[in-house]
Amino acid sequence: MRLVHYSQDAGLDGMWHAAFVRSPVPHGRVCSVDVSALPPDCVALLPQDTAALGRYGCQLKDQRVLADPARFVGDIVAAVAAPTRSRARAAAQAVGVDFDELPAVFDPLAAVAEGAPLLHPESGASAQDKVSIGVRPLPGTNVCHRFRLFNGDVESGFAASAVVVEETFRTASAQHAPMEPHATVARWTEDGRLEVTTGTQTPFNLRDDLAGALGLEPERVRVIAPPMGGSFGAKTFTRLEAIVACLARKAGRPVQAVLDRGEEFVTLNRHPAVVRVRIGAEPDGTLVAKQLDCWADTGAYADCGPGVATKMGYAGVGPYRIPHVRVDALAVYTNLPPNGAFRGYGATQSVWASERAMDLLAERLDMSPLELRRRNLLRDGDRFATGEVMRDVHFEECLQSAADAVDYEDDPRGKGLCVLLKGMQTPSRAAISVERTPVGYVIRSASCEMGQGIRDSLRLQGAALLGCEPGQIEVPDPDTDSSPFDTRTTSSRSTYMMGRALADAVRDLEAGGGERGYGEIANEGGLDPDTGQGIASTHWHQGAAAAQVRVDEDTGRVTVERLHAAVYAGRVVDRAGAELQNEGSMIMGLGTALLESIEHADGQITNANLSDYSVPALGDVPAEMTHELIERDGAEVHGLGETALPPVPAAIGNALASLGVGLAELPMTAERVLEALEARDRQAAGAAV
């Protein structure tokens, strides 16, 4: 069978292996590093080697190559390289580090309270990424970004509402758990260039970060991105690459780092969040006002937490016409491992809150949750809370598809619905080239393969445009030396953006004699972080889900009997690939709903392995799991990589709520279900008295 060649399979002659010296304390200055016990034949990278290097970070430059102070248990304070991996690990164990411990904070609400220990007393400089968001740190606090959205007058909206519902919801931190751990190889060429082969979704962001940290021109850094064994956001921006590059320079030879599973849990996780929803409506269910307050725990470094908080904020408004809206979303530092991009990117957290709140409102109004949603859904030509006019809108079809799949209108008991809108990276830029070869074509693009099938998608789109067979098109690994610029492989944008750039490149090829064509597409827009007004997304990812559940009232065990997701595809490019993305998103959503939670005690993660941290297995797949890709003639391609994840938890949560099991916190473990059942029964007993 055909085997994929991943970055961990990239061995180089004379290559050594890296191991990391990690902080055992959640917050502490490095007092001294003792290397007297280091075995011979190894190289150590120490604080003095990196002290003069620049800061990096994709949205705020708040990271250094080696940490001092260490800001979470697992922060890397030194590193070693040795001829074998086991010798490198032994050498890392032999490095003694003394810390001067500082107070630490592990909860985003505690971190914004008066007197909380500060992780970054001086805010990092904005990364000033041309295509990034405006970052709004609150100086002198742990808030690294505040996103606000104002539309109408929310206070008068609540005053005019007949019914107002308020609830606070929580979501757990989660691990991407890509099967392939992070793996990076770095080498320095004879003329002083840095070459990094690494599993990454963001080769150009990484190149710029490395150049900035190491004081090189970006062109002196080459990033090659082989296919990844899964990523889901884990392999974004700069992870191990800066340290491995410094080790390789000091060792004078190539160095490879491959993480073990436990280290994955201290490398990048999903933002746990607290989301407070207040929503008001008229007696007939017409929505009047909504207020959303979000606290996204970004861990020890901002990473893309500002972007996540922003998306969490506006996705939580939901696909509804609401005249009065106010959103206040904070990305907050805590002494936990950094949280970053994760399939669903902020929407998972706020859709859970927002769509559970819709069912609470429906109950208060004594109205069908389906009817309440239908009455308020955005339609073509409506203005969203950001001020942008909605086009190509299909929320109602998505919702109906979900409702029909579980026969919701026949009997809603044990069933739940959820509908969502999710933005795509805006603004962004994608470029691509096409070259003719004797046997076909080469398409060069920095869109990275992580299993989502971008190579097949480009081959299929290229074959249709060029009039050849997909097999005649070669798509090499992204390489910043030879692939044209692309913002990054995130937010389900690649098939849409690269597909349009490819059409442009094929036109250029045909116009210019047929040897080489270049195409480039930019989507313009962006939101003002202080008002939430502007263009959040050039088009919208639209979806809905429905679940039917059974609860074992003795054990609290939840069985999802039916699960359906409907996603607006516009036009499907690769049928099997699109189905896999939908099914995979749903199954990951199932894990978020029922299983996955990173636990910690005093900042130490206590379930950093795949035994104590459960991800869905084949036996967890619902007996009836279906989905629909909604298409329209002549429609634009819409990304599908993650739309079916965020609606799954709320669909299941609302199904449980229909049985009187009201939950506000993810995951919906058996313990929490039992507590909710007891609360229901107490309430019923109280009512009977």
Binding site: M1, L3, Y6, P227, G229, E579, E583, V615, P616, L618
Partner: protein, 147 residues
């Protein structure tokens, strides 16, 4: 030390340390289908067949394979029905878990020629796919069983 065994139907003598797992030794031999993933025998991505039975390469000392027969997917013939069924059903995305899935499914079908959904879920319960291709993996096992 050296361990003599039959590797993918050929006699082999593998150099290894006394405390090394078969996973590391096979990767050093260039058999990169065997993939370090969870390190504790939970995920099935380093599955190899030991005398035809699926075992986790991360938990099997190389010395325990002495005198026995080890099979990785590199040792399956190109036309083997199980990998062909995985291709035909598009039962993978990133491909990382596929070798372990294929070897486990091969043994499942040998033992249970017409597995039900429950038997497939049970038989492949020790093989995780984070991309979530389970619906198509189940279809691939059924297709291979029918071949």
């Amino acid at each position: 030390m050296k361990v003599e065994l039959v590797l993918n139907e050929r006699p082999a003598a593998l150099e290894c340390e006394a405390d090394e797992m078969v996973l590391e030794v096979l990767r050093r031999e260039g058999l990169t289908s065997v993939r370090a993933t969870c390190g504790i025998g939970i995920c099935g991505a380093c599955t190899v067949l030991l005398d035809g039975e699926p075992v986790s390469g991360c938990l099997l000392l190389a010395t325990q394979a002495a005198g026995r027969e080890l099979t990785t997917v590199e040792g399956l013939p190109a036309e083997h029905p199980v990998p062909r069924a995985f291709e035909a059903e598009h039962a993978f995305q990133c491909g990382w878990c596929t070798p372990g899935m294929v070897l486990t499914a091969k043994r499942l079908i040998e033992e249970t020629p017409q597995p039900t959904d429950e038997q497939i879920a049970e038989g492949l319960g020790g093989n995780l796919c984070r991309c979530g291709c389970y619906v198509k993996i189940r279809a691939a096992v059924k297709r291979a069983a029918a071949a």
